[in-house]
C-alpha cells in the first residue's frame, strides 16, 4: 500500500530536502511500520522522532490522516492505502 509522510521544514535536511516522502508498505501496517520504512532510507530522521528504545519523542506529534497518534493507537495506529502521515513539532522550548 502507498503511504505518504509529510516532513517538517527542520527535518528536510535529513530527507534529501524532500517535504513529502512516499512509501510502499505491506498492507495492514501501523504507524511503527511507516517510521521503520522511513528510517530505512532516512535514518537520521528516525533518530529525531524516536529514541533508541523506539519511543516517540515527547515533543514530536505525528498525525495519521488528521488524528494525532497519541489520541489513537500511538505507534500501533493503523494506516491504510493512501494514508497521510504528518510530522509536526509540538510545543516545547521557552
Amino acid at each position: 500500500m502507498a503511504v505518504s509522510v509529510l516532513i517538517p521544514g527542520a527535518l528536510r535536511v535529513d530527507a534529501a530536502g524532500e517535504s513529502k516522502v512516499s512509501l510502499d508498505l505491506p498492507d495492514g501496517g501501523v504507524l511503527r511500520d511507516v517510521l521503520d520504512g522511513l528510517a530505512a532510507n532516512h535514518p537520521r530522521i528516525d533518530r529525531r522522532l524516536r529514541d533508541e528504545k523506539g519511543g516517540l519523542r515527547r515533543y514530536v506529534n505525528i498525525y495519521v490522516d488528521g488524528e494525532e497518534c497519541r489520541r489513537a493507537g500511538g505507534l500501533d495506529t493503523p494506516v491504510m492505502e493512501g494514508s497521510e502521515v504528518q510530522i509536526l513539532p509540538s510545543v516545547a522550548g521557552g
Binding site: 527535518l11 535514518p43 537520521r44 533518530r47 529525531r48 529514541d51 533508541e52 519523542r57 522550548g93
Partner: protein, 359 residues
C-alpha cells in the same frame, strides 16, 4: 593567532573569535532551541575539531562535529553517535562532557543517564563503558537536581589507563586499568545532605567539578556540593581547602593550565541561596594549592548570575585566558591570570559551558 571561544547555552551554541581577546566577533546561535551542555575543542591535530552535544527540545539529543570551526556540522552517519544498547533499557538524554586523553583520536564523553563513552574515531562514534554501567553501586546513585549525569571526566595526561570521573550524585570514581574496574574515591569528601554519622560515605557525594593541576598530575582540585578539596594522590584522599574562601559551595573549579598549585573558584553563597556571594560576581584564585585565596571582582556592580560547573575554563594559551560564563548570559575573560576581567559578550541565554582554544 586566533582565539576561539565556544559558548554552550540553554538555547544554542555561540562561537566567538578574536585575535587579541579584547575584540570579539560573536556568531548567531547554532543549534537554536537546543541545550548545549557540553562542547569540546580538540586541538591535538592540525585541524581543530569542535564537538557539541545539542539536545533539541523537539527532536532529541545528538553529538555534532565540525572541522571548519563551525561553518559545517557533521552528524551524517547512519547510526546515532551515542545510543544505549538495547539491554540497558536506557535512552541517551545528553552529553555533559567531552574529554581528550593522551591517546590520539580517543575522545571520552560523559552522559545523562550516568555513563561513560569512549570514541576511537575522534568523537564520531562511541562505545559504552560496560564496567561502569554495570557497577554495583549504580543502584544507589541518586539523581541530583541537574540530572543523573557523569559530568566530569579527567584523563591522566600521560597514562591512558588512568582516569577520574565524577557524577552527581555518586561522587568520584577512578580507574587505573583503562576502565575495566572503577573504584569509588571520595575519602575525605563530605555529603552534607546525609545524617551526621553518614556524612563521609564511600560514595554518594554530590561532586560538582574536578580539575587537574597542570604541573603535578596526582594533584586535583574539587568543588563539591558543600566543600572544596585538593588531592595530592590522584584522588585517593581529599583535603579541605575551603577555609580561605567565603563559602564552600559552588559548581566550578579550574586549575591554571600552566602554573602548578594555581586554581580558580567561583563561590556560590550557599546551597539554599544560589547567588554570587554578596551579590557580586567574583572569581577567587589560589597560588598555593588552596591554603590561601584572593578575591577578584569580575564586575563591579550587583550581580545574580552564578557560574555553572563547566562555565569556568581556559584557552591554555601561553598567557592563558580565563573564561567565566554566567547563568544570566554573560561571558568574561581575564588575560592577566585572573587579576581583572573584561566582558566578551552579554545578554546570551544562560551559559552552561564555555571552552576556548588557540586555533
Amino acid at each position: 593567532m586566533t582565539y576561539l571561544l565556544a559558548i554552550g547555552t540553554g538555547k544554542g551554541l555561540f562561537l566567538a573569535t578574536s585575535q587579541d581577546r579584547r575584540n570579539w566577533e560573536v556568531s548567531t546561535p547554532y543549534f537554536a532551541v537546543s541545550g548545549v551542555y557540553a562542547v569540546g575543542i580538540d586541538t591535538r591535530r592540525s585541524t581543530p575539531r569542535l564537538l557539541v552535544s545539542a539536545d533539541s527540545a523537539h527532536y532529541g539529543p545528538s553529538v555534532y562535529l565540525s572541522d571548519d570551526l563551525g561553518k559545517n556540522w557533521d552528524e551524517s552517519h547512519d547510526t546515532a553517535p551515542i545510543a544505549f544498547p538495547p539491554d540497558t533499557d536506557a535512552t541517551f538524554k545528553r552529553a555533559w562532557q567531552f574529554a581528550f586523553g593522551p591517546e590520539e583520536d580517543v575522545v571520552y564523553a560523559g552522559s545523562e543517564p550516568w555513563a561513560l563513552w569512549r570514541s576511537e574515531d575522534r568523537g564520531r562514534t562511541y562505545e559504552l563503558n560496560r564496567p561502569l554501567w554495570d557497577h554495583p553501586h549504580r543502584a544507589e546513585w541518586n539523581e541530583g537536581a541537574g540530572g543523573p549525569a557523569i559530568h566530569t571526566i579527567v584523563p591522566h595526561p600521560t597514562d591512558p589507563a588512568n582516569m577520574l570521573i565524577a557524577m552527581s550524585t555518586g561522587g568520584v570514581y577512578t580507574t587505573t586499568d583503562g576502565g575495566r574496574n572503577w573504584t569509588a574515591s571520595n575519602t575525605g569528601v563530605k555529603a552534607e545532605f546525609f545524617p551526621g554519622d553518614r556524612q563521609y560515605p564511600e560514595f554518594g557525594q554530590c561532586v560538582h567539578k574536578v580539575s587537574r593541576d597542570s604541573q603535578v598530575a596526582e594533584r586535583l582540585f574539587l568543588q563539591n556540593h558543600g566543600g572544596v578539596y585538593r588531592s595530592d594522590d590522584n584522588g585517593a584522599t581529599w583535603n579541605d581547602i575551603a577555609p580561605g574562601l567565603p563559602t564552600d559551595f559552588g559548581f566550578s573549579i579550574l586549575a591554571h593550565p600552566k602554573r602548578g598549585n594555581v586554581a580558580y573558584n567561583a563561590p556560590v553563597a550557599f546551597s539554599d541561596n544560589r547567588f554570587p556571594v554578596d551579590g557580586t560576581l567574583r572569581v577567587h584564585r589560589t597560588e598555593d594549592g588552596g591554603a590561601n585565596w584572593t578575591a577578584h571582582d569580575v564586575l563591579d556592580e550587583p550581580y545574580y548570575g552564578i557560574v555553572l560547573r563547566d562555565a569556568l575554563s581556559t584557552d591554555s594559551a601561553e598567557q592563558p585566558g580565563i573564561y567565566v560564563g554566567t547563568r544570566v548570559g554573560d561571558v568574561f575573560v581575564s588575560t592577566d591570570d585572573g587579576d581583572s576581567y573584561e566582558k566578551v559578550v552579554g545578554h546570551l541565554p544562560d551559559v552552561l559551558c564555555v571552552r576556548a582554544a588557540e586555533v
